[in-house]
Symmetry: C2
Subunit: 159 residues, 2 copies
DNA sequence: CCGCGAATGTTATATAGCACTACAATCTGA
DNA sequence: TCAGATTGTAGTGCTATATAACATTCGCGG
């Protein structure tokens, strides 16, 4: 079980607008506007998880496991939108860091059930608090009414 | 100069909502809503560039080079929000595919200036048309007024 | 109850994308 | 003229994916 201290990975690259550069019509694309806003959101996440070696997919996966005890790796992959093999690598990482564990489920000798460890629960509780706070701060760039509207529109786009 | 035919990479994973799974409060996060919407936008881009081995960062970089002839790799990296080394890899790829080239700039023996080749200009013209069309189709999930509002709000978030 | 197809996890392999470090060449300004 | 900044580059490594092949196990139709 390795330590979970330093955040090593790359900083989340926000794309600051560079003055004097011609954006060649990119600004008119909804997709580009979404990307820029989302990178800003990643920064909020990054600040929230500073000092902990976690990443967005890892965080999402831990939340899923915490909220759905006994989840199988296949179902975790489906919820994340990734292949089974990716869910397995994530699970390996969680076990190596003592955050979650595989346990045999009653009926099925193939599937594992995933469960947070005590340590995982503590970490998720702490992180979720910080992530929510930073997300709220990020969302605070908008008025409350605007935020409601934005979420509605984003929901329409995501289908 | 390699061919530029098939798109090899992974499909852009949208995250379909999985029924029966508890999302553990993730839905309340603005960052998560942004991510989902942006992945849907990536799919539109993917459809627009089907059959061509291009990716969002490559496309963005080509647009930048086209709109800013003589751009240095450092400035390209800054505009993309990535490290210089990434801009160099992109540039290598462009040269290998005959889309852009490095040319010495007048005063400075260190920096290269980046320029689209004729082939790069043709490709970008064709792609930009398709990308705009698919972006418009994607944005068409919203009413015109909603779209204006959304872009305004996204702009606020991206700062 | 048997056997076959489906599901599950796993292993192995590959790729894109990106960061960081260290370095050589070049520029710039005191 | 020289010290420090800038630029491109090479090398290395890690995350996040995907795909294919495989063994185990399950479930069901006969």
């Amino acid at each position: 079980m390795k330590a979970l201290r330093k955040q090593r990975g790359p900083r989340p690259g926000s794309i600051a607008r560079v003055p004097g550069i011609d954006y060649g019509g990119l600004d008119d694309l909804l997709g580009y506007a979404l990307r820029r806003a989302q990178l800003a959101g990643f920064e909020a996440f990054h600040r929230a998880t500073a000092g902990v070696d976690i990443t967005p997919p890892r965080y999402t996966a831990l939340i899923f496991v915490g909220a759905n005890p006994g989840l199988s790796q296949t179902d975790l992959g489906a919820a994340l939108g990734t292949a089974r093999s990716g869910a397995m690598l994530l699970t390996n990482w969680f076990e190596a860091h003592g955050l979650a564990e595989r346990r045999r489920r009653n009926g099925d000798g193939r599937a594992w059930g995933l469960y947070l460890t005590a340590r995982g629960r503590v970490l998720i509780a702490k992180l979720a608090r910080r992530v929510r706070a930073h997300d709220a701060a990020f969302a605070g760039r908008l008025a409350a009414r605007e935020l409601v509207q934005l979420k509605k529109l984003l929901g329409k786009l995501a289908g």
